[in-house]
């Protein structure tokens, strides 16, 4: 054992890994503050905020961020409102076929996922006459995310002793009161984790809105971003860089905040 050689090797490989993950991100850190950014990551001299000024003059950009926000709100709301009660019941009540239901839930959601689901979803939304509508995108995204969300929420609820609710009942609380004052506060971290996890997925989702929306004005940020750099001609790097940063920061902040506060743990089939 040669500790010195070891340490050098260790530091070397740690920096390599660090560089691998950091280098592609450098552009996102520098280019937005560069008066005339190129594709290379270079420290802007002098740094400027003028790119962001242009961004706020661009109605398309603001609208797309608003659209993304609308989709996130819709899907998160739907997943929580529909998923939480189902998770509660699945955790608390043994009805015939419950285990089969849970098994099918897990199986279906992992089989009908991602790209294998595009054609089915496209046809369904087409058939429902919901092409080019936010409700179509919202429903399609929520349908894909509900099963996993129900699973994780059920796990959270499983970890709460039943006696909490029972004692609330003994002391004369109504069903609604027991749910509101006992169950809800205890599962709140679970709800927060699901909300953020769903928000991250929807905020970044490109495929579903790309397929299901037609009107450019309805594009969420993910799709507009893509069209900015694939449209013919020279891509406008000032716009793209500032937009990238503005689009990335909120979801990053949200994730880091909730992660600090509640911590993302692995649940269900993965880890208890």
């Amino acid at each position: 054992m040669k500790p010195f050689v070891h340490r050098v090797l260790f530091a070397g490989s740690a920096s390599l890994v660090g560089a691998f993950f950091a280098l592609p991100m450098l552009w996102l850190v520098f280019a937005p503050f560069d008066e005339s950014p190129s594709l290379s990551a270079a420290v802007p001299r002098p740094p400027t905020l003028s790119n962001f000024g242009d961004l706020f003059d661009n109605p398309q950009v603001l609208r797309s961020l608003g659209n993304s926000l609308l989709l996130v709100g819709g899907v998160v709301g739907l997943v929580l409102i529909v998923g939480a009660p189902a998770a509660y019941v699945l955790s608390r009540i043994r009805f015939p076929g419950r285990n089969l239901f849970l098994y099918m839930l897990l199986l279906l959601s992992s089989v009908i996922t991602g790209a294998a689901a595009i054609v089915p979803l496209y046809l369904l939304i087409f058939g429902l006459n919901l092409i080019d509508s936010f409700s179509g995108v919202t429903l399609a995204l929520a349908g894909g995310m509900l099963p996993a969300s129900i699973f994780i929420l059920k796990d959270f609820t499983d970890s709460i002793p039943r006696s909490y609710e029972e004692s609330a009942r003994v002391f004369g609380a109504s069903t609604f009161q027991a749910l509101r004052d006992v169950v809800f506060p205890v599962v709140r971290p679970g709800l927060a984790v699901i909300a953020v996890w769903t928000a991250v997925q929807v905020w970044g989702n490109f495929l579903v809105p790309f397929i299901l929306l037609r009107t450019p004005d309805k594009s969420p940020a993910a799709v507009l971003m893509y069209s900015f750099y694939t449209e013919g001609g020279q891509p406008n790097l000032r716009l793209i860089s500032a937009f990238s940063l503005l689009y990335t920061v909120p979801i990053l902040v949200l994730y880091i905040f909730v992660n600090r506060r509640y911590g993302f743990r692995f649940h269900g089939g993965i880890k208890r």
Binding site: G18, S40, G83, I112, L139, L146
Partner: protein, 299 residues
């Protein structure tokens, strides 16, 4: 607690009628948006349905013709091969191996360096896909990309990565993008090991390699299997390469999801696209059954 009492405790807050009412909305959304489309796809794969024209209004049943056409189509085979290389290279080799190495290194290491590295890996996972794709387009750019600028120091750096090495590019890109999940999962797995396991083998003078193969890997076998199945499933269904290369140049990075998109949506060959989707669904089913079985045998 007696059996009767336990049953009662469950029904206490919401009666069985209430229970049904609470599960029903979720069951309805899932049925309409997962089950029905999947079954419909299986059916459409047997027809010549198109999005517009006569075949839209009155699609004919064509039996297995779409499947025969797929097997005769060299771009389908190309796409299958590209997808296999993509899943094997970026999920199994890239994400799982790198993720395990990171989790193993981080296991007893408390320092700001560790936290910074961990944060970088996780950020790569959280940043929206279309931003990540552009970051890599910039990073890999032949003329002014950062990668070639660095390689230029060593006298290399005239490769136009996305054109000359497209498959390698999307593999490395997806490794970068998705390693966080494996790192976090393996981190949780290593945490679940009783510390005495490793202490004992260390005291017995086992090398790192012996510790890994003798103690660590066998005891987290279940996690490894779970991880491999999940990331294979996700990578197999990932549309991400489209954002980076659009499937090109030519069809060099046309993974199955991109192939389906091109056939079904762009060329509106719905029947054919549905048949390819059905093939993907079956592959997904095989992976998912493996995953569920792995999870059950561990429990």
């Amino acid at each position: 607690m007696s059996k009767a009492r336990r049953r009662n405790a469950g029904g206490d807050l919401v009666g069985s009628g209430g229970a049904g009412a609470l599960v029903l909305p979720a069951a309805a959304v899932i049925t309409v948006f997962l089950v029905v489309p999947a079954l419909w796809t299986l059916y459409l794969g047997l027809t010549d349905r198109r999005l517009t024209g006569i075949e839209a209004a009155d699609p004919q049943f064509v039996g297995l013709e779409n499947y025969r056409n797929a097997l005769d189509d060299s771009s389908f085979w190309n796409s299958l091969k590209v997808t296999a290389a993509f899943v094997f290279g970026s999920a199994i080799i890239g994400q799982a191996v790198l993720g395990f190495m990171l989790a193993w290194t981080f296991r007893n290491w408390q320092s700001w360096v560790r936290r910074a590295l961990e944060l970088l890996v996780v950020v790569a996972w959280i940043v929206p896909g279309s931003v990540v794709a552009f970051l890599w387009i910039a990073f890999l750019d032949g003329e002014s990309g950062t990668l070639n600028a660095i390689l230029g120091v060593f006298g290399l750096g005239d490769t136009e990565w996305l054109l000359d090495r497209p498959l390698l590019s999307i593999i490395v890109f997806n490794t970068w993008r998705g390693t966080a999940f494996s790192m976090l999962l393996f981190g949780a797995a290593l945490n679940s090991l009783p510390p005495s396991y490793l202490e004992t083998s260390q005291l017995a003078g086992a090398s790192v390699r012996q510790q890994l193969t003798g103690v660590v890997l066998p005891s987290i076998k279940g996690y490894i299997l779970t991880n491999l199945l999940l990331i294979s499933l996700w990578t197999f269904n990932d549309f991400g390469p489209f954002l980076l290369t659009g499937g090109g140049p030519g069809d060099a990075t046309e993974v199955l999801p991109v192939y389906i998109y091109r056939e079904a949506i762009r060329f509106s060959e719905i029947g054919y696209g549905a048949a390819i989707s059905a093939i993907m669904l079956v592959i997904n089913l095989i992976i998912a059954l493996g995953y569920l079985r792995a999870g059950r045998s561990r429990a």
